[in-house]
């Protein structure tokens, strides 16, 4: 396998493991953990093998075309930075899987947990290994989704649901901003491949779109990495199970933002705008997080704010924009991931074994769990930056860089003082974490009697803590090579000289470290007055308040808009839609041409326009019938009849203007539509009542006139212009390509056969939907008309029966004829289907449904199904022969007596169309007709239609 396929396998493996983990939990609770652990281990092994083979050739990047027109490729990239992050994700992921196996209680669903966890791991690997930026954004959003699912893992808890929603809203919005930024970046460079983007730093920084691109990308970074002012989602995300907090919200996902800063470092960093925005956000976050952490009473709350603070520190380092600062930033990413994941796991153990995380209640645990206490202390010392622990080294580098760039950023003393203050606060909260938990006396009884956790719960922490120490004591040996590779990946160049030794001599950074340590100790010793002051002054400040207020405003605005447009009445919606289209059309008219332009179009009349008065008279008659239908619609039967005049007139227009197929279709559809509407009308009031006021009717008439006038003008404007048809192709290819001379039919069954296939499917679905709706429906009906006359005393008149019998074979034969000639002469499956259906329906009408069914035994559902299958089969046969779906084939052969036979495979398709049309039409009409079986009998319509109080609103009751 080439390296890119291996990389793809590393990314996809967790995604594949997710469903397996979910499924395996059904067999055995712990199987899910084994699957997750196994997948992670396998991915790690694959990755290690890959790295071992290609470490000299980095960066390795390739892409496979995906949707090239949109600049989308599916590509992966391996360089130092992605190597570092992939290592972190997989190694810490493996440790977390082991830990979580013991952490989750028997009530928790293991399958769901590990499935989500694997989804997250895959997404996160995708983020760090993507070569294409769009790919990267997609994986980025997947991490937000996985994080949402994991935070809300304990769905029954309100704070879990709130925290998940908050995190998704903030990081999801940031993801959108990032997408925007990436699109601009791709536009500037002309490619979405990271290789091209990273190589064109100068081009990007000098481009006029640099500022918007940078700001959008930074919005994505700051939301994901919980930078001020978007930091407040992270503490709420602590409602997740502790393994999730340790993994997503400390070691990996929140570092995705930082990863992006590092990823785009060569392309975006170093400008004034970058330094100002990134370092300001980082500095504020660093200080605010450290300050707030000190006052949290919840262990995980303290760690959450401490994480925010450390993310701020790293952001600040990248904000400096210098290569050496980037080295320090990368180093601190490694160190923070190790000590913070350990601390979270320690907090989880404490919670697990004592039942609380409140530091006001905890204390003295060192007696009950000395091993855990030792782990907590070592990790906390790393966090505080005590010498001989890894945190000290990166913090020392951080101080050094601050001193170095201080002059460029503000007064030369300001930055060193501020960062020392931050360091001091982190010493204080680290002390508090250790002292309030493991020393002193517990306040009141703990929910559980504390004791050491299961051994395997501590092993992951053991390993990380040993790493903290090893890096802290022998940095160059333990972490030197990895750091070198990673920094090369960030800078896309050989890194500058830096020293990884413990002792750099007596200098200002060392002094700052000393001040931080001593000052932190003092603050912790005199914490009581500080805590009181904080409680009085600042404790009530909460960034969530702003967010909640904004969300509330947004919800209210949304509800206002919806409520203003939609009052629950369908008529309102239709009216608004129509009005809007009228206005849009009007705006279009005025914008493109203006009134003079419309006038010019009307005057043009360039196309020769013959005419004969018979046609005009026919059109006039249709217009009159239309108006009569609209005006007289309250007498429903009358309106229906006048509408049938319109329908027939339209068929005549088709016939007049060279569309025999359309005329035949319209004519036969008209027949079945009329039967349909007459049947339906039987169960509806025979008259519409005046429900709207005259003013409203005039308003509607005005809108109708406006829209009708607009459509008329549009039609005229189009058809009075000369035009070039694209049908020439179909005319030319109809015989050679489709084997038929009737171009309309050939288009339907061949050129656009796939469309037709879709359409008959819709037809079949509509028929089945109607069948379902009519099932067991009972409707009130009456044997009398609104005027009190009986409908009919003979449901099956002799005349109808006689003619129906005579006409049936003739009509069927005609149907077959129309069907067969369809490919070459006007006709075809649609028309033949309608003709046959009306002939059959006439039988049912004449002899009654029961009788006819006994005689004919038509399996109507089967006919529809067979039709669809035949159509599909015709297409598939073509595919089996190696040509595209529905490509038709023609055969010519001569039969004795009959002569030359010309057969197109499209005939099979048309047969399917025919069957679907017959079946659907019959299904609809028969089921509607059958309703009479269930109808509720009423003596007459008056009792259905009106109560006595309402007599004046019905016309004609007394007639």
């Amino acid at each position: 396998m080439n390296p890119i396929e291996l990389l793809a396998a590393v990314v996809l493996l967790p995604f594949l493991a997710a469903p397996v983990a979910a499924w395996s939990a059904r067999i055995n609770r712990y199987a899910a953990a084994w699957v997750a652990g196994g997948a992670t281990l396998l991915a790690l092994a694959l990755f290690a093998w890959l790295v071992a083979g290609h470490i000299g050739q980095m960066p390795v990047a390739t892409s496979h075309a995906w949707i090239e027109a949109a600049g989308l490729t599916f590509g992966f990239r391996l360089d130092g930075l992605s190597l570092l992050f992939t290592g972190l994700i997989l190694v810490i992921g493996l440790l977390i899987v082991i830990y979580a196996r013991y952490y989750l209680s028997p009530n928790d669903s293991m399958g769901r947990f590990f499935a989500y966890m694997m989804m997250f791991m895959g997404a996160m690997l995708g983020v760090v290994l993507s070569e294409n930026m769009i790919n990267l954004v997609i994986f980025w959003e997947l991490t937000s989704l996985a994080s949402f699912l994991l935070i809300s893992y304990w769905q029954h808890r309100k704070e879990a649901r709130y925290g998940a929603r908050l995190a998704l809203a903030i990081t999801g919005a940031g993801g959108l901003a990032l997408l925007g930024g990436v699109l601009i970046l791709g536009h500037i460079v002309g490619s979405y491949e990271l290789t091209d983007v990273l190589a064109n730093g100068e081009l990007i920084k000098n481009h006029e779109l640099y500022a918007p691109a940078l700001i959008l990308i930074l919005l994505g970074v700051f939301t994901k990495s919980a930078q001020f002012p978007f930091h407040f989602w992270l503490p709420n995300a602590m409602a997740a199970p502790t393994p999730v907090s340790a993994y997503l919200h400390s070691a990996t996902m929140v570092k995705a933002g930082i990863f992006l800063l590092a990823r785009f470092f060569p392309a975006l960093a170093g400008t004034e705008l970058w330094v100002i925005i990134v370092s300001t956000a980082g500095l504020i976050t660093f200080l605010l997080g450290a300050y707030t952490a000190l006052f949290r009473h919840d262990l995980k709350g303290l760690l959450a704010y401490s994480t925010i603070s450390h993310l701020g520190l790293i952001t600040l380092l990248f904000g400096f924009g210098t290569p050496l600062a980037a080295v320090a930033g990368i180093f601190h990413i490694i160190n923070h991931a190790t000590f913070k994941a350990s601390l979270f796991m320690v907090a989880g153990i404490v919670d697990h074994e004592t039942g609380t995380r409140d530091m006001r209640r905890l204390g003295g645990l060192v007696k009950y769990m000395p091993h855990t206490a030792a782990l907590g202390m070592i990790a906390a010392m790393a966090m505080a930056g005590v010498p001989l622990f890894n945190g000290f080294l990166s913090k020392e580098m951080f101080f050094t860089e601050s001193v170095r760039v201080a002059g460029d950023i503000g007064p030369v003393w300001l930055l060193p003082i501020l960062v020392s203050l931050g360091g001091l606060l982190s010493v204080a909260y680290s002390l508090r974490f250790v002292h309030d938990t493991f020393f002193g006396k517990p306040d009141g009884d703990l929910p559980k009697k504390p004791h050491e956790p299961p051994g395997m719960m501590k092993r992951p922490v053991d390993l990380l803590v040993v790493l903290c120490l090893a890096v802290g004591i022998l940095p160059a040996l333990v972490v030197g090579p990895l750091l070198h590779i990673a920094v090369t990946g960030v800078l896309q160049a050989e890194p500058p000289y830096y020293s990884l030794s413990l002792w750099h001599g007596l200098n200002l950074p060392l002094l700052m470290s000393a001040i931080a340590l001593v000052g932190g100790l003092l603050i912790y010793l005199y914490r009581a007055p500080i805590f009181r002051w904080h409680a009085r002054s600042l404790a009530h400040l909460d960034a969530r308040a702003v967010y909640n207020r904004l969300m509330e405003l947004l919800m209210r605005a949304g509800a206002g808009v919806t409520g203003g447009l939609d009052n629950g009445r369908l008529g309102r919606i239709v009216l608004l839609t129509l009005l809007f289209s009228l206005l849009a059309g009007l705006a279009g008219y005025l914008q493109t041409a203006g009134l003079p332009g419309v006038q010019a179009a009307l005057d043009r009349g360039t196309v020769e326009d013959s005419g004969d008065w018979v046609t005009w008279l026919g059109m006039l008659l249709i217009i009159i019938a239309t108006v009569v239908t609209a005006v007289g619609h309250r007498q429903r039967l009358f309106a229906l009849i006048s509408m049938s005049v319109v329908g027939l007139g339209v068929a005549m227009i088709f016939a007049r203007f060279s569309a025999p197929d359309l005329a035949m279709t319209q004519l036969s559809v008209e027949v079945v539509t009329m039967i349909l509407l007459l049947l339906a009308l039987f169960y509806l009031p025979q008259q519409s009542r005046k429900l709207s006021s005259p003013a409203r009717r005039w308003r509607d008439a005005g809108i109708a006139t406006g829209i009708g006038g607009g459509i008329a003008a549009l039609t005229y404007a189009i058809i009075s212009r000369p035009f070039e048809t694209i049908s020439g192709y179909f005319l030319e290819h109809s015989v050679p390509g489709g084997g038929g001379t009737n171009v309309v039919n050939v288009i339907l069954v061949d050129f656009r056969g796939y469309d037709t296939f879709g359409e008959i499917t819709v037809l079949a679905l509509a028929a089945l939907g109607i069948f379902a709706m009519l099932h067991n429906l009972s409707l009130p009906s009456s044997r009398r008309d609104p005027f009190g006359r009986a409908w009919s005393d003979d449901p099956h008149p002799l005349m109808l029966r006689t003619f129906a019998q005579i006409i049936l074979p003739l009509t069927l034969l005609f149907g077959v004829y129309v069907f067969l000639r369809g490919h070459n002469e006007p006709g075809g499956g649609f028309i033949a289907g309608l003709i046959v259906a009306s002939a059959l329906v006439a039988q049912y009408m004449a002899f009654g449904i029961e009788n006819t069914e006994r005689k004919l035994h038509l399996p109507i559902h089967g006919i529809i199904g067979a039709g669809l299958l035949i159509s599909l089969g015709t297409g598939l046969v073509a595919m089996a022969a190696g040509v595209p779906f529905l490509t038709s084939n023609t055969w010519h052969f001569t039969l004795p007596l009959i002569g030359e036979i010309h057969l197109a495979s499209a005939l099979g398709f048309d047969l399917g169309v025919f069957l679907v049309v017959v079946g659907s039409t019959m299904l609809i009409l028969l089921n509607l007709g059958r309703l009479t079986d269930h109808a509720i009998e009423h003596p007459d319509y008056a009792s259905i239609e009106a109560s006595p109080a309402d007599g004046d609103s019905r016309g004609g009751r007394d007639a």
């Binding site: 509407l677 309309v744 709706m773």
Partner: protein, 123 residues
Amino acid sequence: MTNLAISLLIGVLTGAGVYLVLRAQTFPVVLGLTLMSYGVNLFLFTMGRLHTAAPAVVGATEQSADALPQALVLTAIVIAFAMTAFVIVLALKARAALGNDHVDGTHIPQADRVIDRRKEPRA
């Protein structure tokens, strides 16, 4: 002149359809939709321009009408039938379920209360 007449016809069909669709009871709305579909079908058909005595059959006449809009309209006619059938049956279903034929269903005018009273046990 023929162009003007057909444009006018399409406009009137659409306008009448719009007016009926804005009515408050189901049956006129169905009539309106049907009229509108006539208008739309004619509109699409007219986009291929009007030709007399020139069916789109190869070899039948010297000139041929535009076959493409015809093919589109042919299926549109059948689909419009299916749609009309679906909507009118929906209207029947609504009437059975709600006891009136108002498009909103919720609004029960005086006249249709009779049915509701029949369903409820007598007080």
